[in-house]
């Protein structure tokens, strides 16, 4: 299977799963934004998703996307380190046009993964998981309150968001370059679109976290 056996194929898997995760993050930020307007409306969104068959199917596909993206990230990094050889350069300089994020995608990804574990423990484990097992789930409002009434949560989330921002600013255009949809003109355009997309989505998350912290903790 060329998707797994060839270097381009493996990158296509990273690319498509990454673009899928960016789409998910966009919807996630928009659904959270509902809580900025009205907590009742946010509760309705939580209710609508809950543990229905379509929400469970969606969660399973999403988890699959994360799993594939993470597993291939480690596989590719391992292969790439091996291809670099055992001897490292004593002096290496980063050319001006090379983004810092592009050379640190795995590290950024690991920070995002740590953040994800915390985030799942604070929300998914209290909302969807109990419903799957048959217990009463926490309401969206109470889960938000439990998390953001603690002051340490906001800074930790903001660190996670920074990592996501750097990860997407490279990941977005890189994904489109990998699936072959770039040329001299479009590399510049994709970089610009990716920068704005990442900034708007991550910015929206940041506004939400700051608002919730202000609402519940201050």
């Amino acid at each position: 299977m060329w998707l797994i056996n060839s270097s381009v194929g493996r990158k296509v898997i990273m690319s498509v799963s990454g673009l899928f995760l960016i789409l998910f993050l966009t919807f996630h930020a928009l659904m959270n934004a509902v809580a900025l307007i009205s907590f009742d409306a946010y509760e309705a969104v939580c209710e609508f998703l809950g543990a229905n068959w379509y929400a469970l199917l969606g969660t399973a596909i999403l988890a699959g996307g994360f799993l594939v993206h993470i597993c291939f990230a480690f596989l590719l990094t391992w292969q790439n380190r091996k291809a670099r050889g055992n001897d490292r350069y004593a002096v290496s300089a980063r050319p001006k046009t090379v983004e810092w994020a592009s050379q640190n995608m795995l590290v950024l990804g690991i920070i995002v993964l740590c953040f994800l574990v915390l985030h799942l423990a604070q929300f998914w484990a209290k909302m969807q998981l109990p419903e799957i097992v048959g217990d009463a789930p926490a309401s969206g409002y109470s889960a938000l309150q439990a998390a953001f009434s603690q002051l340490w949560v906001a800074p930790v989330y903001l660190i996670g968001f920074c990592a996501i921002w750097f990860h997407i600013t490279h990941g977005f255009w890189s994904a489109l370059q990998t699936i072959g949809t770039a040329n001299e003109k479009w590399i510049v355009r994709w970089k610009c679109i990716g920068w704005w997309w990442a900034t708007i989505v991550v910015g929206l998350f940041a506004v939400e976290v700051i608002y919730f912290t202000w609402f519940f903790a201050i």
Binding site: S6, S7, K82, G85, Q177, G180, A182
Partner: protein, 251 residues
């Protein structure tokens, strides 16, 4: 301006492919700044030979930036700090008096060290042999406008064809990937009608040879294009991906 500079040269010395290498530091006195980097190494080698020591082995041939033979990783850059130039086109005026200049061989699992600063870049030849050519007889030159080719395509094909196969892209890449080289070699044909007949076969053969030889996976950092002495563009890699994906999907 003809000034002379004195500096320290920290050079990777390795007796053979299986031997363990190490850095050796040499002091160079009063080197004119209009000396080329390779001439400076020649001067050092003469001094070493006079002292009865083993001269430093390094690759070089035409010394005018077209053969792709010279290499060297100078102060963290393949082909040194100059942009759009090979090591043989690098002059000592780029360096300062009293500086320590670090010279390393290109490091990649696919480029094993032969001796000192010389590496085996035969892997690139093997990729070329896998399909980097047109296998049918194209006959004599036709009338210039018999096959219309857009100026844009012709220019891009020519730019891609300017790749000299030196391997700086592999040396610069943190993943030891040869994607910029392969993409240039695939693009120079993919853009022209003569190359289209065998395009699918070519891209599949060259890419699978690249993977087989132990080059890494491209992560689009762009270090290759930034360090390329012939300014091969990063967009070639996207074309290579496109050609490969389309060829595989049409199987």
């Amino acid at each position: 301006m003809d000034t002379n500079i004195s500096f320290k040269l920290k050079v990777w010395r390795q007796a053979g492919p299986k031997e363990k290498g190490h850095f050796e530091t040499y002091e160079l006195q009063d080197i004119p700044t209009d000396t080329s980097f390779l001439e400076m190494l020649d001067i050092l080698n003469e001094q070493l030979v006079e002292k009865g020591e083993e001269p430093i082995a390094f690759d070089h041939d035409c010394r005018e930036g077209i053969c792709g033979m010279c290499s060297l990783y100078v102060n963290g850059h393949p082909h040194g700090p100059a942009t759009g130039a090979t090591t043989c086109q690098l002059y000592m005026r780029r360096f300062h008096d009293g500086e320590t200049i670090t010279v390393e061989p290109w490091r990649s699992a696919a480029f094993p060290v032969i001796k000192d600063l010389m590496v085996n870049r035969n892997a690139l030849d093997q990729i070329q042999q896998a399909g980097g050519y047109v296998s049918f007889n194209t006959g004599g030159a036709q009338d210039a406008n018999a096959i219309p080719i857009s100026k844009v395509a012709a220019d891009e094909a020519m730019d891609s064809a300017s790749c000299i196969g030196c391997g700086a892209c592999v040396a610069a890449c943190k993943n030891g990937s040869a994607m910029l080289f392969v993409s240039a070699k695939v693009s120079q044909f993919a853009l022209l009608p003569q190359g289209k007949a065998e395009a699918k076969k070519r891209v599949k053969a060259m890419l699978s040879k690249m993977d087989e030889l132990g080059f890494g996976n491209c992560t689009n950092t762009g270090a290759c294009a930034a360090e390329c002495p012939k300014n091969i563009k990063l967009s070639n890699i996207s074309r290579l991906n496109r050609e490969y994906i389309c060829a595989k999907l049409s199987d």
